[in-house]
């Protein structure tokens, strides 16, 4: 009796679950299918029109290079990853600290914010050679360029985040006779986290750009250097493979920040 009663409920639940699973599969399958179709078009186009390999390699050539030149690619991947991570850390840390100073001291903000805006308006490609001249062709210049490219969006977002506290929450703090430090640690800083993370997601991809631009200007290692090298030697398949790996690095950084965000910002 009970078994018979259970059947309709069970099957209703099953169809619901099947529906949810299908929606999840669709969410992944549709973009993947589109990408596969585009790759196929590219492959066929290159072959049908007989495009020379050094102008545009077929995806299959790129894939082969990706496997064959894997040691070379990896050898250049690590320095770029390292520079990106360091730049990310330095740039964002500086931005957060300066944002805290801005929020606590209006004079500091008035003095330095216009300078920050000005530095931000200089194209990174124009400032990169200057920084390489100053810091030399080593690691420092790349880290500084990567840090600089992260800095401004994080600064602006963090200032906004720290100021996003509702006046009511500040009145509550006042009624509890909270000190400035308590207001900062217990109210302002947590309030700013959603803003900080949206900036960090931007920085996660731009710091890679910064590191690569730094390597273009002067380096013999790294994905940026490999891009330049492959271009001048007409090794298009290698160039494409390097570009593929660069965006892979960006995606990796972005995904990591997104996962951390989901763990930290639960409200």
């Amino acid at each position: 009796m009970a078994v018979i009663d259970d059947i309709p409920a069970q099957s209703a639940q099953d169809t619901e679950r099947a529906e949810a699973t299908r929606r999840k599969i669709n969410a992944v399958a549709v973009p993947l299918g589109t990408a596969a179709a585009l790759l196929a078009c590219w492959q066929i186009g290159v072959r049908v029109f007989g495009v020379p390999n050094y102008i545009a390699p077929a995806p299959s050539d790129v894939a082969v290079t990706l496997v064959q030149e894997f040691p070379l690619l990896m050898q250049n991947f690590w320095p770029t990853l390292y520079e990106s991570l360091l730049g990310f850390a330095v740039g964002n840390l500086a931005a957060v600290l300066i944002a805290v100073a801005f929020v606590h001291n209006r004079v500091v903000e008035r003095a330095f914010f216009p300078i920050a805006v000005f530095v931000n308006t200089i194209p990174i490609l124009a400032i990169a050679p200057i920084l390489v001249l100053i810091f030399g062709a080593g690691l420092t210049a790349k880290v500084v360029i990567a840090a600089l490219i992260c800095f401004f969006p994080t600064l602006v977002n963090m200032v906004r985040g720290l100021q996003s506290v509702s006046p009511q929450a500040l009145e509550l703090a006042r009624i509890l006779s909270a000190s400035k430090a308590e207001v900062f640690w217990k109210i302002r800083l947590p309030s700013s986290l959603p803003y900080l993370f949206s900036a960090l997601k931007i920085a996660a991809t731009t710091c890679v750009i910064g590191a690569i631009v730094g390597e273009w200007v002067g380096a013999d290692r790294g994905l940026g250097a490999l891009i330049i090298d492959a271009t001048f030697n007409f090794r298009s398949a290698l160039l494409y493979a390097t570009v593929f790996l660069s965006s892979g690095l960006s995606v990796l950084m972005f995904a990591t920040v997104s996962i951390v965000e989901r763990l930290v910002v639960r409200w």
Binding site: A178, P190, L193
Partner: protein, 269 residues
């Protein structure tokens, strides 16, 4: 009246019970605008006051003056014989705002614990309620939701968390600015009854601002009617209805008489 005095209430000094709050010719100005002028008033300890008045007459300003959020331009305000600043530092009063003002990243329980954390590192001695934060959540009917984040709670539940938070330092004066203004009728009735129960159990003094005449009559022992331009006291109306109050009292002729009287008074303010 069934006002139960808690054992923790300090013995009255010098023979008579000190007033919860005394305002003497207190005025508040915003620039050249006078929001409150020469307000004189004595708030009896342990009583439930509701405050009515036309919009913009200075009800919120009066609570903000009492809670040391804004200074008096002239006159004085005394809370349990202390200045407003001393009273604030001693956590004599707590404030419940119209929106719950919970910290969204803290659970219900952690929000209630917030007042206990503030000042602890600086070695400030914090008065605490006999009830733990958990028990206070139970008192406001939120047992089992301690770990819920504010966005997982309804508006009424959030406001109850705010009330529990206000009680955690055992304030002798509870200031409430339209705390149930944004809630639906049913929830409001329910919370009104709960608030009366809390008031009787804790023996705290309550100043409760509302826009609703029935709510003012239902909750209050005394209704302070304020008048606008500039804000001042129009009349203190004693509500002589028996406690404990029940929802169905609102249909009695006495209740309606009070409501009608206050409505008329409000129209001429």
């Amino acid at each position: 009246m069934t006002l139960v005095q808690p054992l923790t209430t300090p013995a009255p000094e010098a023979g008579h019970a000190p007033a919860a709050a005394i305002l003497r010719n207190a005025s508040v100005r915003f620039g050249t605008f006078t929001a409150i002028q020469d307000l004189s008033l004595e708030i009896e300890a342990g009583a439930f006051y509701t405050i009515l008045g036309p919009s913009g007459c200075g009800k919120s300003t009066m609570l903000r003056l009492v809670s040391d959020l804004i200074p008096a331009a002239s006159g004085e305000v005394e809370i349990f014989g202390k200045s407003t600043e001393e009273a604030r530092l001693a956590r004599e009063f707590a404030f419940v705002f119209q929106d719950a003002t919970l910290l969204p990243w803290r659970s219900a329980l952690q929000n209630v614990e917030l007042p206990l954390e503030i000042g602890r590192k600086r070695g400030i001695e914090i008065k605490t309620s006999d009830r733990s934060p958990r028990e206070l959540l139970e008192l406001v009917g939120l047992k089992g939701r301690e770990d819920a984040l504010p966005h997982e709670l309804s508006g009424g539940m959030r406001q109850r968390v705010a009330i529990a938070r206000a009680l955690v330092c055992q304030p002798r004066l509870l200031l409430m600015d339209e705390p149930f203004g944004a809630l639906d009728e049913m929830t409001r009735d329910h919370l009104n009854l709960q608030l009366l129960q809390i008031w009787e159990e804790t023996g705290t003094t309550i100043l409760f601002v509302t826009h609703s005449i029935p709510e003012a009559v239902f909750l209050g022992q005394k209704v302070l009617m304020l008048q606008a331009h500039p804000g001042r006291l129009r009349e203190v109306v004693e509500i002589d209805l028996p406690f404990p109050r029940a929802i169905k009292q609102r249909e009695t002729p006495e209740f309606m008489r009070y409501a009608a009287y206050l409505r008329e008074l409000l129209e001429t303010c």
